[in-house]
Amino acid sequence: MTRPLMTPVTLLTGFLGSGKTTLLQKLLTDPDMARAAVLINEFGEIGLDHQLLDRIDDNVVLMKSGCICCTVRGEVADALINLDEMRARGEIDFDRVVIETTGLADPYPVLQTLQAHPVLRSHFRSGGVLTTVDAVNAAAQMNHRAEAVRQIAAADRIVLTKTDLAGDVTDLRAALARVNPVARVVTSDMGASDILGDLDAVHSLIEPDACGTCGHHHDGDDHDHGHHHHHHDDTLGVVTFSLTVEHPLDWTDFGIWLTLLLHRYGDRIFRVKGILAIDGEDQPVAVHGVQHLVHAPVHMEHWPDGPRHSRLVFILEGIDPALIRRSFHAFMRLDDTTGAKAA
């Protein structure tokens, strides 16, 4: 039995009725998923008796003091520890875990539990967020349900379901790209390797210019000298905003700034993702955050093609991007107009 150093945990989320369980049922028949353990918190109708099952109730313990490490999703933690102990005793074997969340769940608390729990963080790591989107009903859900938008914004990969019933999904793809330009969109009729391949949070970071994937024209977007661009989805109130900086960044200043920004505004910053040129480092560093949480920074092996500039993408709601830009430059001691190190 080979035990991975850190077992990836993939979250399968998606709005009620968006086809999570059907997708899970399909994935579990795929040989690539033969060594996956599954935690499910909504018992569906499908038979999963050949798989590992556990039940998680939807309890979130959030202490009033508001410190982010206080957010502990107790029974998810207990279930994962139980699986790990069973594996250690040789009773079961698995090399990845998939957690199917409820249709109304925000993925952030589970991700936070993985990172903050004193035991879990030594045995498990985020294996990415997979969000199912019902191609027939998604447009209406995105307009009326904030949970649906948050689930899409948190996704590393979006799986379009029911495409056979929906007809042309061009407009839906464009709407998804406005909410989350950094997630790859696949369809549920693809194989497990296409749906889950490189979903791992580490690998999914290696996208040289996330905004280049959004399929939108950015007015004045020359990716130059610390300039930024953003675009709104007026119907959803969601803004995608990117920032490009030529000058290498001070890692410590960046850590202090991003920590403070997410402390104050994490509930309105659905995602932050970026590739950074760090002062004194030849290789780029990728950062990846969901709400108040930032995953362990990834030391990438090489720069993607193109200029070696830092690029940050934010998906946010109700925050003026221009203020983030000013704050970033002030905290990073960069000139606000040239992006160069301030005197």
Binding site: G255, T259, L260, D320
Partner: protein, 107 residues
């Protein structure tokens, strides 16, 4: 231990990630940790000065925040810096606040 929530061993801050293949961390050896700790104090104090707070190391394993009146709070991870600073200052640290941005721009 986090003084706010009482959870032991929660130095979970992303800039203190456990050094392992593929992860960028300055939490690699004693020298690197000390160097980064010194840089971290300097960077944090630039911001904390906005509310006249001062952060320093506490026994090499934790941090202590002090106010101008002598009140102090001890914590052991950067994750707790801003909640602790706001509790000690009894006012917020808002990185998008025009006054704080202007303060940082003047430095």
């Amino acid at each position: 231990m986090c003084s706010l929530c009482g959870i032991l061993g929660c130095d979970d801050h992303w800039t203190s990630a456990v050094d392992r293949p593929g992860v960028y961390s300055r939490n690699t050896d004693r020298h690197a940790r000390r160097s980064e700790g010194a840089r971290r104090l300097k960077a944090a104090n630039r911001v904390l000065d906005f509310r006249r707070l001062k952060m320093s190391e506490f026994h090499g394993t934790s941090y202590v925040l002090k106010s101008p009146t002598g009140a102090s709070r001890v914590f052991d991870a950067l994750s707790h810096l801003w909640p602790e600073a706001e509790a000690l200052a009894t006012r917020g640290f808002d990185p998008l606040d025009e006054e704080l941005i202007a303060f940082m721009e003047r430095q």
